[in-house]
Amino acid sequence: MQVIWQGETIPIDFSLQEVVNRRSGQQIQLCYHCHKCGAGCPVASFMDYMPDRLFRMAQLGLRRQVLSSSTIWLCSACHTCATRCPNDIDVTGVMDTLKEMALEEKIKSRQKVAACFHKAFLANLRRFGQLHEASLMAVLKLKTLNLFSDMKLGMRMFVKGKIALFPKRIKGRKELRKLFKEIRRRGKVPEESC
């Protein structure tokens, strides 16, 4: 069987569904497209594909389309979808799995900022043990070259004392780094940031 996607003929690949099912521990083929997930999702209107459509594409083996979608990165992990799914599919879990797969296969998403944000956030945590907003913002701005968009908000927060200039150094930094190393080792997650 083949899917004809914008002029391109893509033969069906059942292995993608199997991998996603195994890694996420969910049965995505159970989805019967009631759209309850998309209906409740706070960011669904910004996604290129609704979660159920993404599952369908995964079932048909449309690897590149799934992993480059903005859906997986826009997912805020609020779990509204997973709570409401009548087939008990942990949609958020599947999104997490797809995020990991996209990173592993180095597939660039249409949604550029989110992936970047995730990585910068984690790198920041790993370094300081506790999130240092100022350096996170700095890194994010530089990486996305979007320097001035949140200026106003930033200034107001700074004036109110919400943004510390210097990071707080926690005591268990070494242990935290060990934690990160172990996770990386187990999950085989690549080290570099975006």
């Binding site: 069987m1 004809i4 083929q29």
Partner: protein, 649 residues
């Protein structure tokens, strides 16, 4: 001198709140012919009815007017009341002063009161002209005719016979079993179809109260409920079934092979053959169009090997006449022919099958012994495409209704395919998956989960043959993209349609069909197994598409209706029917044409119209149609209506 009693009900405050009940009682008591006038709070209650009864007895009333709610509420109640008091119940009439008076004139009490008086007055005039009527008693033959030897007919026949009544079962094919015996396994528990229907077939064939007429067709039905005269044409099988021992030698010797109708053309049979190995009765039949003896006068190989000398080429058709009291119509269904579906190959591609043809392939008694193989080259298909809704839900090229069983049997067929071809892949193109019965949704979910059957939502636009494969062009609306599958075999879930001759049969039976040819029920919710003709009951898919569970339920229900009919000793019917004033009738026969229940006939000798009272439903169509006024309704004659109008105006 008429002695009419008028009883006005307050109905609590429903009537009394608007109508001045005392004034009405007062005014009505002065009417000519009224011997008793009284009101009561709730006339339909026990004490209320007791008041009516007492008054009828004490004052020897010969007519009663109950001024109360609508007759559809309590006409029967009050008729029973007066009957208990010894008065003829058909001289008890209801004057509706609630729905037609107090409830619609709540703001105008004076008007309501006057109107109530007028209504009662008019009904009093009607009662004055009412006849004493007595229910009709007619003969009741406690024997049932069941048309159709499929699962519905078998169930109905068996139930009726088990209750102690005789049954005649007419089946047009040489064997019982209908459609169910053509199936391999059934949903949702994947039982073998033969295990469901074969015991029933055997039971019916051996039942002492059931007369089995297989290879027979209904020729004619006359008469009415309780007394139908039926003519059945026993087709010539050219085999004396009493002598035949079913040894099978004749079949072995026969040199002629023809496509088997039971296998829908996928398999072969001999010119003399039984339709399938489990046939009940297991007696062979000669297909005269294929047999060399009839075509060329040669051969007779079968006769030569038949020890009991059961083969008789001179056998003729016979007409069997039976008298029955009720008929159960269980003639089953047909499928929308794939030859009519141009975009799916016009029936020309050997690897494009209908759902029923797939069942034959999958059956151990089928042409391939149950192996799923392509008709084109005998190979086992790996990519199998199922298409639902072929001809169904299609106003343009098919039928607009849903055939109800296809979603379920497609899921089942996909599962059965995977059981036999574990490395195969099944695809199902659907619009919806309708699985409403008990255990159905769970079954479909299992079929989708366990076998990795891919359900693709979208209608297939076309199929075409390409290099030994059948290419399917569809869409998966869930991703919104086109799909192309190079299938080894395609199974079409074609629409369930009535048998091609159902409308002709309906004419013979004088029952109604809908626009498609399915037999019409009397009331879709309340009377689903009765036709509009008294004494004719419906069961199974002849009524509308349904699954085996519902067919069997309906057949049992139809059997109950027959048993209820037979429970009385005579047929008692409502006397409020039409009658003919023979002096006025000119014999124009317009009423005969007008009657929807075929209850009018022309009297042979007198050449005037007559009413078959057992069939008449009192609709009044003939009264309206009659140009001379000879046709009238008992206790609702033109004179009565005019008298009522005079009273009001």
């Amino acid at each position: 001198m008429k002695k009419i009693g008028v009883f006005l009900c307050w109905c609590g405050s429903n009537i009394a709140g608007t109508v001045d009940v005392d004034k009405v009682v007062e005014e009505v008591s002065t009417l000519d012919g009224v011997a008793h006038s009284q009101s009561y709070r709730y006339l339909c209650s026990d004490p209320g009815q007791a008041i009516v009864e007492t008054a009828v007895k004490e004052k020897d009333l010969d007519g009663v007017v109950i001024a109360a709610c609508s007759p559809s509420m309590h006409e029967t109640t009050f008729r029973k009341t007066v009957a208990r008091a010894g008065m003829n119940p058909y001289r008890c009439e209801i004057a509706n002063v609630r729905e037609q008076c107090s409830w619609v004139h709540r703001d105008a009490k004076d008007v309501a009161t006057d109107k109530a008086i007028k209504i009662i007055e008019s009904v009093v005039e009607k009662v004055k002209l009412d006849e004493e009527l007595y229910p009709n008693h007619s003969a009741l033959i406690k024997r049932a005719l069941v048309l159709g030897g499929g699962i519905s007919g078998l169930k109905a026949a068996s139930d009726i016979a088990d209750s102690g009544y005789d049954v005649v079962l007419v089946e047009r094919e040489p064997s019982l079993g209908g459609r169910v015996i053509q199936l391999s396994r059934t949903f949702p528990d994947l039982d073998a179809a033969r295990d469901i229907v074969l015991p029933l077939m055997k039971e019916v064939a051996e039942h002492p109260r059931i007369k089995l007429l297989t290879y027979s067709e209904l020729e004619e039905v006359t008469g009415h409920v309780g007394q139908f005269n039926v003519k059945v044409r026993k087709k010539a099988s050219y085999v004396d079934h009493d002598k035949c021992t079913a040894c099978g030698l004749c079949i072995k010797e026969c040199p002629v092979e023809i496509p088997s109708q039971f296998d829908l053309g996928l398999g072969k049979r001999k010119a003399i053959d039984v339709p399938f190995s489990d046939a009940v009765p297991h007696k062979p039949v000669i297909d005269a169009e294929a047999c060399i003896v009839f075509k060329e006068g040669k051969c007779e190989a079968c006769r030569n090997v038949c020890e009991p000398q059961a083969i008789d080429f001179d056998q003729k058709e016979a007409i069997v006449e039976e008298e029955v009291g009720a008929v159960v119509v269980a003639t089953g269904y047909s499928l929308h022919p794939k030859e009519k579906v141009a975009e799916y190959g016009c029936g020309k591609y050997p690897d494009v099958l209908s759902g029923l043809e797939f069942e034959r392939l999958n059956s151990p008694t089928g042409p391939t012994g149950g192996e799923i193989r392509r008709s084109s080259d005998g190979k086992v298909p790996k990519e199998l495409v199922f298409i639902q809704c072929v001809g169904s839900r299609d106003q343009e090229k098919g039928v607009p209704y849903c055939s109800r069983i296809c979603c379920m049997y497609t899921a089942k067929q996909a599962k059965l395919f995977k059981q036999k071809v574990p490395d195969g892949q099944a695809y199902v193109f659907y619009m919806d998956v309708r699985s409403g019965g008990k255990g159905y949704e769970e079954f479909v979910q299992r079929c989708q989960e366990e076998d990795r059957t891919l359900y693709l939502r979208g209608r297939v636009s076309r199929l075409f043959q390409d290099n030994g494969k059948v290419v399917v062009w569809g869409v998966d609306t869930l991703i919104g993209k086109k799909i192309e599958i190079a299938a080894d075999m395609v199974v079409l879930a074609t629409a369930v349609v009535p048998r091609s001759d159902s409308k002709e049969l309906a004419k013979k039976l004088r029952i109604a069909t809908d626009e498609y040819g399915f037999f019409s029920e009397a009331h879709i919710k309340l009377r689903p197994v009765e036709s509009q003709t008294a004494g004719m009951f419906l069961a199974g898919c002849a009524h509308c598409p349904k699954d085996i569970t519902d067919s069997v339920s309906q057949a049992g229900c139809a059997a109950s209706k027959v048993k209820a009919l037979f429970a009385a000793d005579e047929l008692v019917s409502d006397p409020m029917v039409a009658y003919v004033d023979e002096d006025t009738c000119v014999g124009c026969e317009i009423c005969i044409v007008a009657c929807p229940y075929e209850a009018r006939i022309l009297h042979e000798r007198k050449k005037v119209a007559a009413v078959e009272e057992a069939l008449c439903q009192g609709c009044g169509g003939c009264v309206a149609a009659c140009p001379s006024g000879a046709s009238q309704m008992r206790n609702l004659t033109t004179d009565q209506v005019l008298a009522m109008i005079d009273a009001i105006v």
